[in-house]
Symmetry: none
Subunit: 217 residues, 2 copies
Amino acid sequence: MVMVRKAHHIKELTKRQKEVLDFIREMVESRGLPPTIREIGEKFKIASTNGVRAILTALGKKGYIRRQPLVSRGIELVKKTTFDFGQRRAYVAVPLVGKIAAGLPTLAVENIEGSIAVDKSFLPGGDVFSLRVVGDSMKDSGIFDGDYVLARMQSTAEKGDIVVAVIGEEATVKTYIPQKNRVRLEPANPAFQPIVVDTRFSDFRIAGKVIGLLRRM
Amino acid sequence: MVMVRKAHHIKELTKRQKEVLDFIREMVESRGLPPTIREIGEKFKIASTNGVRAILTALGKKGYIRRQPLVSRGIELVKKTTFDFGQRRAYVAVPLVGKIAAGLPTLAVENIEGSIAVDKSFLPGGDVFSLRVVGDSMKDSGIFDGDYVLARMQSTAEKGDIVVAVIGEEATVKTYIPQKNRVRLEPANPAFQPIVVDTRFSDFRIAGKVIGLLRRM
DNA sequence: GATTGTAGTGAACGGATGAGCAGTAAAAAA
DNA sequence: TTTTTTACTGCTCATCCGTTCACTACAATC
């Protein structure tokens, strides 16, 4: 192998190492799983697992991968491909929900219309979904018609939380105020009336708590 | 949770199935690897691999996962709540500006405090920056204290546009209303007074037009 | 009442897999 | 020149892991 003289930075990869690294990336992207040592060997016609091992060890030393010992497929990609600023995913693709199906505790796929990339710093833990707001009933809380609210999936809420509530087939965004055997859903606009539902008889549930908002202007 | 009678869709998950599915998601996100059957069993104190198998088979039938036979950790999440592959970069890193330096037509790097990932669909063409709003002067336009506005860099605006205006060292978000030799910057809150600047003598410029908004709640 | 789906126990089979040792060869670096 | 790094072959070992069979138990549906 003809090696051209290179400036010796510790982070430099050899041709072989880069090939293997690219293959790992490819596998992770296409299959969702890193390859096993033997799968790498097969791909590059390396007969011995120890041959691959040497390359992986080198990649580990140079900081491109992290290995989880004794774990099958335990290869973690550390540095991302071309310019990702070195950071870990700065965003998460949040599903955009169209209809919120009644009764389902989770999001039915049929109702996911798309996704919106949202900066991680805007997200708490847990599953987050987004919903397009229709109507001006929460105008005084700064939630306008056409806005997208971000909501964390949860089935309970505290008094005063702004929630995504589902009544029958309808999803609404309102302020949650629990009362005995009833729930009061308060709008933030004097032109609208509060909704009061009897929790004993009504098909009512909380889909999530509103934790953020996106607006196009 | 009291379960109301449900329409029996094939996609319904049992509590156990959802638990396992959530665990798999958790593992994929935190470790980058799906768990093995035995790892799942360990987590849920299921002694037999066959117990886990039954659950995985059910999840497979219902379309939540896809299994790669004979492959370790060969569990692929089909319906994802949070995920990021599929499309190529659906987002753009928008610079978050701290101070807007006077007189500079472009953003000085020194003043960039960070960046926020924003979905491409929220962005028009051109250079976009974001700015944290201080104060409630635009409350009635749904722009609250602490919100982040997205603005496209431009030095002119039309009557009625909400703009990021710079007067001296101060940056403000207001509605732009041009008048002869003067500019009126109108707040959207009766508690605040409009700002009128004389364009002939004042150190005034438009930094950009507000085209979006992000809020953490 | 019979069937189906769910949720397991327990044991066993065989291939998959990571780790490790001994040794080779060539290129690059010190 | 000597040493280190890279890139392997070939082999062994213990364990990991998915698969499968037999069987139990419960609940809901048909």
